[in-house]
């Protein structure tokens, strides 16, 4: 049984910012959706189904907000699915939408992910109450810092690597008009001397809380033929999950991430990701996750990820640019962050990434993770349709 090839023909995102007080949640998502439709040269009537994702409903205080958003997203009379897989949700949402096209259930699908974090406080929204979580574990940084320390201990990485990542991503963000943080006067020294939040993660090595939305239009081969701009073609997509806590879980390099990457590479026919993938949009909410994920995703051998970062390979003009958009470190509307990674990877292969376009990107990886490093979703997109 052959699947229908899936093409990304429209991408839209909002200008991300700490608080979009000028729009409702509906106004926010509609902005991204309209931009994606415009990019695809389509109208609302061309959309067969809507697949929407966001991270926990508690962030905005709306239970199952897709019900309320049906009107704003032109979903009335259409199927609408709501995905929630923690921080990986933006990626999972895109993959669920892609599945509808691949299965030939629908021909053209609008997929969208959002977060309006200003409606709540993510730090405390993510500090789960006792008995679900141990006390004094404030926010996501509190959960992930020990795993960063484990990485440092395991690999012997020197302490300054994380700051290099943060400095790189924030400089990349200056080229991305949609990025939340535009820190024109940031220097490496400023990153390194910023306050320590969760040792060894400093303030400037931490993602912001953003309001924002990202949307994509996915379609079949016939839809791609009609698209006004070059499509990005999906060559592989996968999700993997493992339990949150159990003896034997490797928080530094979770097996679910490794398995997920291996599945995507297998689908895309990639045997040497370091050489065959031209750009990576990786979910790096805390700077040290770049070297950690470089290993987890097979771009570096175990213990070697930090060396790749240190050598400058992951800079926007390096051999393997990582997060040319500025990444999660510069923009983090949690529910949308994963889809932004997927969408930015697609922008790169479409040659439509603007000032942060990397030359000659033919294959790119979009990556998202969530929960306690337990949910993973990834796709590989390319500038030509998959063969076979």
């Amino acid at each position: 049984m052959t699947k229908e090839p899936v093409a990304v023909v429209g991408i839209g995102q909002t200008k991300h910012t700490a608080a979009r007080r000028d729009v409702s949640i509906a106004g926010l998502v509609r902005e991204a959706a309209v931009r994606a439709l415009t990019d695809a040269g389509l109208g609302w009537a061309d959309i067969d189904a809507v697949v929407i994702g966001k991270a926990p409903d508690f962030f905005e205080g709306v239970m199952m907000p897709e019900l309320y958003l049906a009107d704003a997203l032109g979903a009335v009379g259409k199927p609408m699915l709501r995905v929630h897989t923690a921080g990986s949700v933006g990626g999972s949402t895109a993959l669920v939408a892609a599945g509808l096209v691949a299965a030939r259930v629908h021909r053209t699908v609008l997929t969208l992910a959002f977060e309006k974090q200003s409606e709540s406080n993510a730090m405390w929204g993510l500090s789960l109450p006792i008995p679900f979580q141990q006390p004094l574990l404030a926010g996501a940084g509190g959960f992930f810092a020990p795993h960063v320390r484990a990485y440092l201990r395991r690999t012997g990485a020197p302490p300054g690597i994380g700051a290099l990542v943060a400095y790189k991503d924030r400089r990349n963000a200056l080229r991305n008009p949609y990025a939340h943080l535009h820190e024109h006067d940031l220097t490496l020294d400023k990153v390194r001397s910023s306050p320590m939040l969760w040792d060894p993660i400093r303030y400037s090595e931490t993602c912001p809380s953003s309001d924002g939305a990202c949307a994509m239009v996915l379609t079949d081969r016939a839809g791609a033929d009609r698209a006004p701009y070059p499509p990005a073609w999906m060559h592989g997509g996968a999700m993997r999950s493992e339990p949150t806590l159990f003896a034997g879980k490797d928080f530094v390099s979770p097996r679910a991430g490794r398995d997920c990457a291996a599945d995507v590479y297998r689908q895309a026919g990639i045997t040497d990701p370091r050489r065959e993938i031209d750009a990576v949009e990786m979910y790096v909410p805390f700077s040290w996750y770049e070297p950690m994920w470089l290993e987890n995703l097979g771009f570096a051998d175990e213990g070697e990820g930090w060396k790749l970062t240190e050598s400058g390979i992951t800079e926007i003009d390096g051999e393997l640019p990582v997060n040319p958009s500025g990444g999660v470190l510069s923009t983090n509307p949690i529910g949308a962050s994963g889809m932004l990674r997927f969408a930015e990877a697609a922008l790169q292969v479409r040659g439509r990434a603007g000032e942060h376009q990397v030359d000659g990107v033919r294959k790119a990886l979009g990556h998202a993770y969530g929960g306690g490093s337990q949910f993973f979703s990834m796709w590989v997109v390319a500038d030509t349709p998959p063969t076979g």
Binding site: M1, K3, S24, A55, P56, D57, F58, F59, E60, G61, V62, M63, M64, P65, E66, L67, Y68, L69, A70, D71, A75, V76, G77, K78, P79, M80, L81, R82, V83, H84, A86, S92, V96, G99, A102, A103, R104, V105, G125, L126, L128, P129, F132, A238, M239, R240, S241, E242, P243, T244, L245, F246, P254, A256, D259, C260, D263, G371, G372, Q374
Partner: protein, 355 residues
């Protein structure tokens, strides 16, 4: 199109309060039951998808704990919808259609007992205009019921509503998992006081905790796992506008459209499991689905006998499939709903091989 079937179904006993068990503890026996039915272990399932809601659990990322109960090690291919499990089944179905998976485990659960469900569900509403007024789910259903009674073309009255309640709760006497069973005759029900006029308590679903799971399989795998698979001949779901002010509450165009797309009108069904938490909603759904009087509707007792949030829709699919597994139905319709006053509706058509 690749043929996909429901090959196993399991559910918990639905109870008004399950304070002594966690969501995972409530779910695990059901997961084991469906996997045992088909002789598979979690690691042998190609794709897993679940439906639940953080708002019921009162904590963010509540589904992550349920995943631990699945035993997702080695890591599994898995996804989650913040919706009723019927939509998780839909996602899994599309995954099987692509050929990427031959089997799928779908589960859903909800505990309403920790909170005040009627208040919790007000948080589903438009957060700027409607939710601040705290209109609760029963009151909104009462508006819908009154509109139905007032409409000239429906013929619905309080006696008809009581008839639905009595039939459903009487049918539930043969359902060992039901939360409410047995009913006085409709005439006696009409002597009961109103809860929110025109709805009496018997017109409303019980509030309870519960879980359900199904296993899906494609083609020959389904035949190998189940003596009489319940083939999904079609499945579709549609959304309506959120605002009650722009909807004709006596109609359910999304149900009608989903049924058309699912092929429900191509041949008569002999059984229908409708997710109608309120008696008045069954009358609306019957009309949209053009169900003949001979069709057995909700022999399980339906949502009026047990309505565990996020699982009740999946249970409709499971009950319809189980009737086919038993040879008690040849072609069955299953329906699930979500949102205030039937905002979002899913319809599936299931068939067994000719006996």
């Amino acid at each position: 199109m690749r043929q996909v079937a429901i090959v196993a179904f399991g559910q918990s006993d639905h109870r008004p309060d399950s304070a002594e068990t966690s969501e995972v503890e409530m779910l695990m026996p059901v997961l084991h039951q469906v996997l045992d039915t088909v002789g598979l272990r979690a690691g042998e399932i190609d794709f897993t998808c679940s439906g639940s809601s953080d708002y019921l659990a009162g904590r963010a990322f509540s589904f992550t704990m349920a995943l631990d109960g699945v035993g997702a090690w080695p890591p599994i291919s898995e996804s989650h919808v913040e919706m009723d499990g019927a939509w998780a089944l839909y996602e899994a179905w599309t995954r099987l259609l692509t050929g990427e998976a031959d089997t799928a485990l779908v589960y859903a659960y909800g505990k309403s007992s920790p909170g005040d469900l009627r208040e919790v569900l007000t948080r589903q509403l438009d957060p700027y205009y409607m939710a601040p007024l705290w209109p609760d789910s029963v009151s909104l259903a009462a508006l819908q019921a009154q509109a139905l009674i007032d409409a000239a073309d429906t013929g619905a009255d309080e006696r008809a509503l009581a008839g639905v309640a009595a039939r459903s709760r009487t049918a539930a006497e043969t359902n060992p998992h039901a939360q409410l069973t047995g009913s006085p005759p409709p005439e006696a029900l009409l002597d009961e006081p109103y809860l929110v006029r025109p709805l009496r308590r018997h017109d409303c679903p019980p509030i309870g905790d519960g879980a359900a799971a199904v296993v899906l399989a494609a083609g020959d795998t389904a035949r190998r796992l189940c003596p009489r698979p319940a083939w999904i001949r079609g499945m579709d779901h549609r959304t309506e506008a959120h605002s009650l002010g722009v909807r004709d509450l006596t109609r359910s165009p999304s149900t009608r459209l989903a049924a058309e797309r699912a092929g429900a009108f191509q041949a008569p069904v002999d059984l229908a499991e409708l997710h109608a938490p309120f008696t008045s909603q069954e009358l609306i759904l019957r009309r949209e689905l053009r169900l003949a009087d001979a069709v057995r509707v909700n022999p399980s007792g339906g949502a009026l006998a047990a309505n565990p949030m996020m699982a009740a829709g999946l249970i409709r699919l499971g009950e319809a499939a189980a009737a086919i597994h038993r040879g008690a139905a040849g072609r069955a319709l299953a329906h699930a709903t979500s949102g205030p006053c039937l905002q979002q509706n899913l319809v599936a058509v299931l068939e067994g091989d000719v006996l």
